[in-house]
Symmetry: C2
Subunit: 227 residues, 2 copies
């Protein structure tokens, strides 16, 4: 479903140039969960942003379900993200003025789903991550780990085909983290492609294979020997 070929991402130029990604090849199939591990600053979030079309590579190609992202217009990319890609941001990115349930149902409502159905889906997704009682709270009335779980629920509603999760267990204790991994794994088994950035080996173990990033390049990988 997702293919990255020769992807480079450079910030700045000249003396101040920072190479965040330095030629990355990666393929994720439907039904496959790939974990990405690596030191702080090695390019993991950049990899996810580029994979999801939130950031444009300096060179190289990103293809999702046969569509080459660089050949789509901004409108087409936005529609693709809304419909097909679920994104769990490293800093959650919740909307402060909306409740937990409203945050979760927003992408679906923007996609034309009737409010009632979107809200029902949202409540079910919140229940899956243990937040059924917090549906009507605002982000600033939630703990860090609760906010993270709202972000996770939002990424999982609807017919997402690609789930991109940036350290989704960073603010969670291990028991709650396990529950989240179970939901994510079930989603992938149901037919999505999943890319999971994590620095926890025990959560990477839920993936079909793990890719190791260092200084913007893939230095090693486990599982199958395809990139």
């Amino acid at each position: 479903l997702l293919t990255l070929e020769g992807v480079r991402r450079v910030h700045g130029s000249g003396a101040r140039e920072v190479v965040a990604l330095d030629g990355v090849d990666l393929t994720v199939r439907l039904g496959e969960l790939v974990a990405v591990m690596g030191p702080s600053g090695s390019g993991k979030s950049t990899l996810l942003n580029v994979a999801g079309g939130l950031d444009t590579p300096t060179s190289g190609t990103v293809t999702i379900a046969g569509d080459v992202l660089s050949e789509m217009d901004a409108k087409g990319r936005a529609a693709l993200r809304r419909k097909r890609i679920g994104y769990v941001f490293q800093d959650f990115n919740l909307i402060p003025a909306l409740t937990a349930a409203e945050n979760v149902s927003l992408p679906r409502e923007l996609d034309g789903v009737p409010a009632r159905r979107a809200r029902t889906e949202a409540k079910a997704a919140l229940a899956e991550v243990g937040l059924e009682k917090q549906a009507r709270r605002f982000p600033d009335e939630l703990s860090g780990g609760q906010q993270q779980r709202v972000a996770i629920a939002r990424a999982l509603v609807g017919p997402r085909r690609l789930v991109l999760a940036d350290e989704p267990t960073g603010a969670l204790d291990s028991v709650t983290g396990e529950a989240v991994m179970r939901v994510l794994r079930a989603r992938v088994d149901a037919g999505a492609a999943g890319l999971l950035v994590t620095h926890e080996p025990r959560f990477a173990a839920w993936a079909d294979r793990t890719v190791f990033l260092r200084d913007g390049t893939v230095v090693d990988s486990t599982g199958t020997d395809e990139p």
Copy 2:
């Protein structure tokens, strides 16, 4: 240095009441690092906010270096926080318009330290967490783990006597996390009192004792048998 007695913190009232802390007793001495563990939503951040005077308990007492927080005026509490308490927030709380070095030196400059000395201190603190090259970058030009390390550096500059760290390794790989724990431990050994919220047992192991929170109360503790 830090004493919490009978601390309760309740949000809302009536049917919507949420008891974040339900009667907590805790003592942290200079030279002592205490870890706090517990499930998501169990009250860890609330405990730290109350300990640092950023939140007021519904009942109970907080005493820092002999000063009872509830008996101080707002100005006195603010001065205490600026001078004596270093806080690493779960969501980092960096100022987007300031560079990494400026973010780290700000509390000291607000405290009357000459800009030049504050900036030298800031660069040294950033070097301690591996960010010497990133001193002049803005928060949005940094990775999640780099932002977290800026927040850590900011909490450690100057003559802090109490360091309150809310999951300071949440966005870090284990090698970088170890480096941070080393810096924190050194700070405590040099004479500070440290309270560390973490959900990682291997980082809690750096503490002198660990307190376990569940539903707002202390349910267990390791190390010495004092609370």
